[in-house]
C-alpha cells in the first residue's frame, strides 16, 4: 500500500476543497485541535455537524410549509444553521444560509425557497466530499491525519 501517495491524494483533495471555497480557515482551526489525545477529533466534529445540520434543515423545511411567510421564524432557524456552518468552516453552505436570511429580511418567499434548495445542495455536496476525504485519510493511515493544506 503506497501510504505516501494516499497522503498526497488526501492533501490534494483538501487543497481543492479550500480552493473551491467549500471550506475556509475555520476548518484549519478545527484541525489544529486534533492531536494524539483526540486523534479523530475533526471527523467527530464533522459527523456531529452533519447530524445537527440535518435536523436543523428539516426544521426549516417543516417551517417553510407549516408557517407560510413567517420570516422571523424561518430566519431564526437559519441563524442556527448558519452558526453551525461557521463553526466548522463550511463556507459555501454558510454563504447560502446568508442568502436565505437576506431573502427573509426582504420578505421574499421565492428567494427563500430558492436559497433553501441551494443550502440543501451544498449540504449534500459537502457531506459527500468530506466523507471521501475522511475515507482517504483513514486509508492513508494515522500519519495522514491533520496536515495543513499547502495553500
Amino acid at each position: 500500500m503506497d501510504y505516501s501517495n494516499l497522503r498526497r491524494q488526501a492533501a490534494s483533495m483538501k487543497k481543492s476543497l479550500f480552493d473551491q471555497g467549500y471550506l475556509d480557515e475555520q476548518f484549519c482551526q478545527v484541525e489544529d485541535l486534533q492531536d494524539e489525545a483526540s486523534p479523530n477529533f475533526v471527523e467527530e466534529v464533522v459527523t456531529l455537524f452533519f447530524k445537527d445540520s440535518g435536523r436543523l434543515m428539516s426544521n426549516i423545511e417543516q417551517a417553510l410549509e407549516k408557517y407560510p411567510r413567517d420570516f422571523s421564524r424561518w430566519d431564526a432557524y437559519m441563524q442556527q444553521l448558519k452558526g453551525s456552518c461557521s463553526s466548522i468552516g463550511a463556507s459555501r453552505m454558510k454563504n447560502e444560509c446568508m442568502s436565505f436570511r437576506d431573502s427573509c429580511g426582504q420578505g421574499n418567499v421565492e428567494g427563500c425557497m430558492r436559497s433553501f434548495q441551494k443550502v440543501k445542495r451544498e449540504h449534500a455536496v459537502l457531506r459527500q466530499k468530506l466523507e471521501s476525504y475522511f475515507q482517504l485519510l483513514r486509508q492513508a493511515g494515522p500519519a495522514g491525519a491533520a496536515t495543513r493544506p499547502v495553500m
Binding site: F49, K51, D52, Q79, S87
Partner: protein, 208 residues
C-alpha cells in the same frame, strides 16, 4: 518549601449546539482547563447548585467540591433561557455573582454585546471561538480569585476581632462585612487549595 500543585481551573460551558459544545470542550481542554458542558441555561444553574427559579442554593454534599466552577462560558442564543438570562441569574445570586462569565455569539451586534457587558459579563467572544481566545480566560479567573481572597481575608480579620465577644454564633453578627446571604452559600464556586498548594496572599501572617 511547599510545592505548588496546579489543579486545573474548572470551566462550565453552556451551548445548545452539539458540534459547538464539542468544539468549546476541546478548546478548553487543549488550554488545560477542566471542563463540564451542559446544553441549557437551566442545566447550568442546576450544576451550579441553584434552582432556575429561586435564589436559594440546593444543599450541596461534601463531594460536590468537584463541582467548584471558576468560570462560565455560555452561548447567547439558546432556546428557553438565553445566555443573557443565565448571566442575569448568576449576577443576581449572591453565591454565584463573583464567577466570571463569558458570552459567545455568532452575531456581531454591538447593542447585544454592550447589554451583556453592562449586565456584568467579563468578556464577549464572537463565534467561531478560537484557540487564541482561550488565553483571555485565565486573567478573569485570577482577578476574581484575588478579589475573593481579599474578601476572605477581610472576613477572617473581622471575625477574629469580634471573637472576643460572648456571642456564640456568627449568624446574626452585626459585622458589616459579613453578608447574611453569603453564609448560606455552598462555596460551590470557590476553589479550595490542595494541601501542598500555596495560594497567593492566603497564608500571609498578620502582624499586629
Amino acid at each position: 518549601m511547599a510545592v505548588a500543585i496546579e489543579t486545573p481551573f474548572h470551566v462550565l460551558a453552556v451551548d445548545d449546539s452539539l458540534p459547538d459544545r464539542k468544539l468549546i470542550e476541546r478548546l478548553l481542554k487543549t488550554s488545560s482547563f477542566q471542563v463540564t458542558t451542559v446544553d441549557s441555561g437551566s442545566k447550568a444553574l442546576e450544576f451550579l447548585g441553584l434552582h432556575a427559579h429561586e435564589d436559594s442554593p440546593i444543599s450541596v454534599q461534601a463531594d460536590q467540591q468537584e463541582a467548584a466552577v471558576n468560570l462560565i462560558i455560555t452561548d447567547y442564543c439558546m432556546p428557553g433561557m438565553t445566555g443573557y438570562d443565565l448571566l442575569k441569574k448568576i449576577k443576581e445570586s449572591s453565591c454565584l455573582r463573583d464567577i466570571p462569565v463569558v458570552i459567545m455569539s455568532s452575531e456581531n451586534i454591538p447593542s447585544r454585546i454592550n447589554r451583556c457587558l453592562e449586565e456584568g459579563a467579563d468578556e464577549f467572544f464572537l463565534k467561531p471561538v478560537r484557540l487564541s481566545d482561550m488565553s483571555k480566560l485565565k486573567p478573569h479567573i485570577l482577578k476574581s480569585r484575588c478579589k475573593e481572597q481579599y474578601q476572605q481575608e477581610q472576613h477572617l480579620q473581622s471575625n477574629s476581632e469580634s471573637s472576643n465577644s460572648s456571642n456564640p454564633t456568627n449568624e446574626n453578627s452585626s459585622n458589616p462585612t459579613n453578608e447574611n446571604s453569603s453564609s448560606t452559600c455552598s462555596n460551590s464556586h470557590k476553589r479550595k487549595a490542595n494541601d501542598d498548594e500555596v495560594l497567593p496572599h492566603a497564608t500571609r501572617p498578620k502582624h499586629n
